[in-house]
């Protein structure tokens, strides 16, 4: 149906239909189908980079990337093209960038999920029950750790809103690994004493916010 259109013409058709509120599934599907082979090639390179992955993963990642391109990519592409000409050369390149990021994000998350739980397969064969219990325990602990980290970051967001100077010093000292008050003071253009004070106040507020959040969670 769209065979006689170039990629750019087909993409223009997608944008035009979208602007008019019409369904874009058919032209976008045709476009993504044309890009499926290079997309799978990009995915295979990311898989090689992470040393894992399967053809089934590749299908899933490709579908995910198409979904992201449809959800946000079309608008993002327009924004990037207008604000940073040259960064996105063509819709195809932009789509392949999305593919690349979807794949990298997937394998980064997979590493986080799998690493602590993977064990010697021989042991798993010998002691399946204990392995299951261990897996359940690890999963629970991972969930708790994730939850604790989420709460921490929410507490930090509140610190940023309510005490931005303290949050800035904390961010530099702890999150950005500076861990040196002289360097913090230099970067923030404040005295070393003030760097100490800000980081120390930040810690106190973070504790209070964290406790509030934990209790609010308990009431929900």
């Amino acid at each position: 149906m769209f065979d006689d259109l170039t990629d750019d013409e087909l993409f223009a058709e997608v944008l035009q239909r979208r602007a008019g509120g019409a369904a874009v599934g058919a032209p976008l599907g045709a476009l993504c189908e044309r890009w499926a082979r290079p997309a799978r090639y990009v995915i295979s390179k990311i898989q090689a980079s992470y040393g894992r992955g399967s053809p089934a993963d590749a299908d899933e990642l490709y579908q995910d990337a198409v979904g992201k391109f449809l959800d946000r990519g079309l608008d993002q592409f327009r924004g990037v093209s207008e604000q940073m000409p040259g960064r996105s050369a063509s819709p195809k390149t932009f789509f392949l960038r999305i593919v690349k990021h979807v794949a990298i994000d997937f394998y980064r998350r997979q590493r986080e999920d799998l690493a602590p739980g993977v064990s010697d397969p021989d042991e798993a064969m010998e002691e399946p029950a204990s392995e299951v219990a261990r897996a359940v325990d690890l999963s629970r602990r991972r969930e708790e750790r994730t939850e604790a980290q989420e709460l921490y970051w929410r507490a930090f967001e509140r610190l940023q809103q309510e005490h931005p100077k303290e949050a800035g010093a904390w961010e530099l000292y702890h999150h950005q690994d500076v861990e040196d008050h002289e360097e913090c003071a230099r970067r923030l253009n404040i005295s070393v004493v003030n760097s100490y004070k800000r980081v120390s106040r930040a810690q106190a507020y973070l504790r209070l916010y964290l406790l509030d959040l934990q209790q609010e969670g308990g009431h929900e």
Binding site: V42, I104, L211, H219
Partner: protein, 391 residues
């Protein structure tokens, strides 16, 4: 002029005896005295209660909104923290006074409620809409306390003043009056908020609330490091990061193998995109230039090589491969473990870029031997192995 708490309530009682207060003022003063009767006696209370009619009580209840106390108390909590953690001196005193006003507002509402209860014991219970309003008032205070009582730790900076108030309340009143009594002995918690002491004070050792609060906030003592998020990676890739952010990325990826690997993956993805574009630009060449990785093509030229196992562990093996003039290091994952690695040829310089190959991670050490390098291998999310090696 600073007036001690007892003198202040004695003055309230005298004012009550003299009469002439508004209905609301009378209710609060009656309750203030009743809740401190062990110290103040009950002089003037009954007379004042008999002077209040059913309409007076109903009129006062109509004007009450207990929920309005919530923002006042939340503000008071922030002010108390500011008194302790902000600038010292006069400014701290201003915060302390303002915060104490918030707690006093909650206490006055409690006094009025106590006075209405006492009024009912003389005049009989309220009925109809007045009874509903009276119930709504008490329920409102209950909801307020449910939300705010767990935040009592915020008021620890006011403890000297709170203890003074607590100590003149009748014993039976103290449990309800959390705003003056809860965590009123936890002064040591304040110092521990900013820096947990190496040797906890006797209070911190024995107080369950303080111990729980400190234990529940241990995450703050070892804050999670910031890593490159998916959004960071996107902005990095699209050239949208500021110079400061880019500097952070450079510094971070020198220490964090996983984020460095994400940056390498971006580069490898870019190479793949370029190859895919070339493929489209020169379809005729497809037959001779496949998108397959040339390094993995079967039959790729191989050269005689020498292999030396530098380290063999359950999770990985490190092999130094010397091939003609070149040397490379292989880090081979074993037993299905997720392994990342970095090789540093000089301190402070970024790691060599690893290539993922059929045998595992591979680092090209270049030509010319007689050098040393530092290897870091990370297994899963936590175990880290490090060693120097020569090649």
């Amino acid at each position: 002029m600073v007036v001690d708490a007892l003198s202040r309530y004695q003055a309230r009682r005298e004012q009550l005896v003299r009469g002439g207060m508004s209905n609301g003022g009378s209710l609060e003063a009656i309750g203030d005295v009743l809740r401190r009767a062990e110290r103040l006696g009950r002089e003037g209370v009954e007379q004042a209660l008999r002077g209040l009619t059913r309409a007076d009580i109903d009129g006062w209840l109509r004007s009450q909104k207990p929920e309005a106390l919530q923002p006042a108390l939340l503000r008071a909590a922030e002010e108390a923290a500011e008194a302790a953690l902000g600038e010292e001196g006069e400014e701290a005193e201003v915060w302390r006074t303002s915060s104490m006003d918030g707690l006093s507002a909650r206490d006055r509402a409690e006094s009025a409620a106590r006075a209405i209860g006492e009024w009912e014991s003389i005049h009989g219970t309220l009925d109809g809409e007045a009874a509903a309003r009276w119930k709504a008032f008490r329920d409102g205070l209950g909801r307020l306390d449910t939300v705010l009582r767990p935040k009592a730790r915020w008021f620890i900076p006011l403890n000297p003043q709170r203890r003074a108030e607590r100590d003149i309340l009748d014993t039976a009143e103290r449990t309800r009056a959390w705003w003056f009594t809860e965590r009123a002995e936890c002064d040591d918690f304040l110092a521990a908020l900013s820096a947990r002491p190496e040797r906890p004070s006797p209070h911190l050792q024995s107080c369950g609330d303080c111990r729980a609060d400190l234990s529940n906030t241990e995450a703050v003592e070892v804050p999670p490091k910031r890593h490159l998020s998916a959004d960071d990676l996107w902005r990095f890739d699209m050239g949208m990061m500021s110079a400061v952010e880019l500097k952070w990325v450079d510094g971070h990826t020198e220490k964090c193998i996983e984020c460095a690997q994400a940056i390498w993956a971006l580069e490898e993805g870019d190479e793949a995109i370029e190859q895919a574009q070339d493929e489209q630009a020169a379809p005729a060449a497809r037959g001779s230039r496949s998108m397959e990785n040339p390094a993995r093509r079967p039959g790729a030229a191989r050269h005689p090589e020498q292999r030396e196992v530098l380290e063999e562990r359950r999770e990985f093996r490190v092999v130094l491969v010397r091939e003609r003039q070149r040397a490379r290091l292989l880090v081979q994952p074993l037993a299905g473990r997720a392994v990342t690695a970095a090789v540093f040829l000089a301190p402070g310089k970024p790691s060599l870029k690893p290539q993922q190959g059929p045998e595992g991670l591979q680092f090209d050490l270049g030509t010319g031997g007689g050098r040393t390098a530092h290897l870091m291998v990370r297994v899963g999310n936590s175990e880290i192995f490090e060693r120097d090696f020569s090649f």
